[in-house]
């Protein structure tokens, strides 16, 4: 019979801090830069549509006439290329995941007309 | 430490098997086989490596559904790629060591990599049109430049008083020159003289306009080099002068 080689490690883990956290009572802090979900600051958006062209999953839809910017968070793979391609830096990647849902939905945002507002 | 280098060499279709035998005897390592679906046919690329040299042998434009000798008798590892190519591209391999007979991947559509989807077809046609338009434009430009050179030489020889523009021999509507000459040949000699005079006047005006433009450009350059405030003042003065001149011309015209 060989010796119990993992004995030291097994015995030590009785007294060490556990590797897992008691989720959902406690959760690990999300590191900065975690690829969670995309948000759009509509006050800076110019509806150019570059994010729509860059997205590899066709998750973003930009309607210039209706002045809406929509993203399907369930098609998005959190690659971040839209945030990097945006010329006005209005898209950012937030470090929280899209919450679990029972039905798929599309997040549509109304983009206010900055020029019209300034002219008034 | 061997250095990595790669080469692409063509391979005739009949030589696929003999090449494999030669490579195995020469101690080359078999790397892979792949297929590319092109408009002309299916290309097969066999890769072998030895001492850091990766040689890709390209057998171009096999007709769809053709039969090719298998290399699995030399390199058993090729059976995976040959079965895959059979399932996805439709090339049959004769003498496969482990032959799945089309059931390797069991795809829903036969030979899916050879299917051209409507979007792909549209994209390819668009790309072809763009390339054709570009080629036609280049050819027409070259043609026009040649004709323009000839026509200008002819014209200058006939009208020594019409100076070539200051910027160096630009011609106006050269492609119409041949047609004009043809028309003039059949016309009344008085009319011919008038038409030729008109052409000469047009040439002089074009030259004058060119000189004006050149002067303007010079002035702009000077303004850019000057102090911004002064430049603004000069520009305002120039605008006022131009306005006055325009008003004067309008008054004269009335």
């Amino acid at each position: 019979m060989g010796s119990f080689k993992l004995g030291g490690m097994t015995f030590g883990s009785l007294f060490k801090k556990p590797e897992t956290v008691l989720y959902p009572v406690e959760s690990k802090p999300a590191p900065a830069g975690l690829k969670g979900h995309i948000v759009n600051d509509v006050s800076l958006c110019i509806l150019c549509g570059i994010c729509q062209k860059t997205c590899p999953c066709h998750a973003i839809t930009v309607e210039k006439k209706a002045r809406t910017w929509a993203i399907d968070p369930f098609r998005c793979v959190q690659c971040g290329s839209c945030a990097r391609a945006c010329p006005k830096a209005c898209l950012t990647m937030e470090p929280t995941y899209t919450p679990v849902a029972t039905a798929e939905y599309v997040t549509t945002l109304e983009v206010p007309d900055q020029k019209a507002a300034a002219a008034e | 430490m061997a250095q990595f280098s790669q080469e692409f060499t063509p391979l005739p279709i009949e030589a696929i098997h003999d090449e494999a035998v030669a490579r195995k005897a020469g101690g080359w390592r078999y790397v892979q086989t792949l297929a590319v679906n092109t408009e002309a046919g299916i290309d097969l690329v066999y890769s072998y490596m030895k001492d850091g040299l990766l040689e890709n042998l390209v057998a171009k434009a096999l007709p769809a559904g053709s039969a090719v000798p298998s290399v699995t008798d030399q390199f058993l590892a090729a059976f995976v790629f040959e079965n895959e190519i059979h399932d996805l591209f439709g090339i049959t391999f004769e003498g496969l060591a482990i032959d799945f007979g089309g059931n390797f991947y069991r795809v829903a559509q036969k030979e899916p990599m050879t299917i051209i989807s409507p979007e792909l077809k549209a994209a390819r046609e668009k790309a072809a049109k763009v390339a054709a338009a570009k080629a036609a434009k280049e050819a027409a430009k070259a043609d026009r430049a040649e004709k323009a050179g000839e026509a200008q030489a002819e014209f200058l020889a006939a009208h020594p008083e019409a100076k070539a523009a200051a910027t160096g021999g630009r011609v106006f509507a050269p492609s119409d020159d041949e047609a004009v000459e043809a028309k003039l040949a059949g016309m009344d000699p008085e009319k011919v003289a008038r038409v030729r005079a008109a052409i000469a006047a047009k040439a002089k005006k074009a030259a004058a306009a060119e000189q004006d433009a050149a002067k303007d450009a010079e002035l702009e350059a000077k303004l850019a080099a000057m102090d911004p405030e002064k430049a603004a003042k000069v520009r305002a003065a120039m605008e006022a002068k131009a306005k006055k001149a325009a008003e004067a011309a309008a008054k004269e015209g009335e």
Binding site: K5, T10, E19, C57 | F8
Partner: protein
């Protein structure tokens, strides 16, 4: 002399990380031959080049496999850069290699756990994956993703690792060394492990060359081939790189080679982190590959040599992108190793090629 029965193995089996089907022709507990069948995860990813341009396709290439994700994005980016004649800044090359070597550490730790699980050593499986979690935490802190990193792009990398973060990375790697040494010691000296791996699935050096095997699977049969020894990119700046070889040719040799490769990768990461040059992390790539241009590339992934081929057609979409993964090359070796083995050893032999069937099928 009994009569032959055919036992189906897979596609779903607790020991397999990915679906693979084998028909084992068995006679009295001895496998006479095995006929592999794959195709359960064929997603037709290579056809997606027609609808995704060369910048978007890198995200498809990453998702070919979860274990080799970094490897595929790196190989694809290098191939397209070679096709378009783009030179990547030095710092980006270093960062790519550091992430790739971390990917190798995580992949080998994953494999060591699975190999232990293949012969029933579940607590070793848990310990290996516990250490692997620390590596995944490094990925999360430096790139934002645990498994799919999305950090390489054509022309460089997307994020930088500053000195403070790099020091944390090195500290984490040092932190796992203590436990990893204990794990390695158990795997390589424990008698139960040896009973299940020594002289199992033997492939001689001659056969390994004839079957064109690649990766640690081949290096355990003394085939001296490792793409990293060509010294391209940041690998060329290493002081000394020697592939780890072993002439055992059996499952035990393959376990040993992978255990030692983890240590080698950690040394490489530390060396490159110390030598990291300052500079840009990306270069802008404009235009499209020329019509008819071809490029090929090889990369040493955790499972072996992976071959990439790209052909351009003048538009932003590539004409053809091909990834030949190491597992597809090793399938012939696996089939020949299974002939003549015991039924109970089938798990171990299949696992020793480190099968990544999703890579094979794309």
């Amino acid at each position: 002399m009994g009569k032959a029965t055919v036992i189906p193995f897979g596609p779903q089996h607790p020991v397999l990380p990915e679906p693979l089907h084998l028909d084992l022709v068995v006679e009295d507990e001895t496998v006479i031959e095995a006929v592999p069948q794959i195709g359960f995860v064929h997603r037709g990813l290579e056809k997606l080049v027609e609808t995704r341009d060369y910048n978007q396709f890198i995200y498809v290439a990453e998702r070919i496999c979860g274990i080799c994700a970094m490897g595929h994005s790196l190989g694809y980016a290098e191939t397209v850069e070679s096709l378009m004649g783009v030179e990547v800044p030095k710092r980006a090359e270093y960062l790519r290699v550091i992430w790739h070597e971390l990917s190798r550490v995580h992949s080998h730790l994953l494999w060591l756990g699975l190999a232990a699980d293949a012969f029933g050593f579940e607590s070793m499986f848990m310990h290996c994956w516990r250490l692997r979690e620390r590596v995944l935490d490094i990925f999360e802190k430096t790139t934002g993703g645990r498994v799919i990193l999305s950090v390489v792009k054509v022309g460089g990398v997307v994020r930088d690792i500053d000195d403070a973060m790099m020091a944390q990375v090195i500290a984490t790697l040092d932190g796992i060394m203590d436990d990893y040494t204990k794990i390695m010691n158990t795997l390589l000296t424990d008698t139960s492990v040896k009973n299940r791996t020594v002289d199992v699935g033997y492939i001689s050096h001659k056969d390994a060359l004839a079957l064109s095997m690649v990766g640690p699977f081949a290096r355990a049969s003394a085939v001296n081939y490792d793409v990293r020894s060509f010294g391209r990119g940041a690998y060329g700046d290493l002081a000394d790189f020697r592939p780890i070889l072993d002439d055992g040719g059996d499952c035990f040799a393959r376990v040993k080679v992978r255990c030692l490769e983890v240590l080698q990768s950690i040394e490489i990461i530390k060396e490159l982190a110390a030598k990291m040059p300052a500079g840009d992390i990306e270069v802008a790539v404009k235009g499209a590959p020329a019509d008819g241009a071809q490029a090929s590339n090889v990369l040493e992934q955790p499972r072996g040599e992976c071959y990439y081929y790209a052909r351009g057609n003048g538009t932003k979409n590539l004409e053809r992108m091909r990834m030949r993964t190491p597992t597809s090359q090793n399938l012939a070796g696996m089939t020949s190793a299974l002939a003549g083995c015991d039924l109970a050893d089938v798990n171990m032999i299949i696992l020793t090629i480190d099968p990544c069937i999703s890579c094979t099928e794309r």
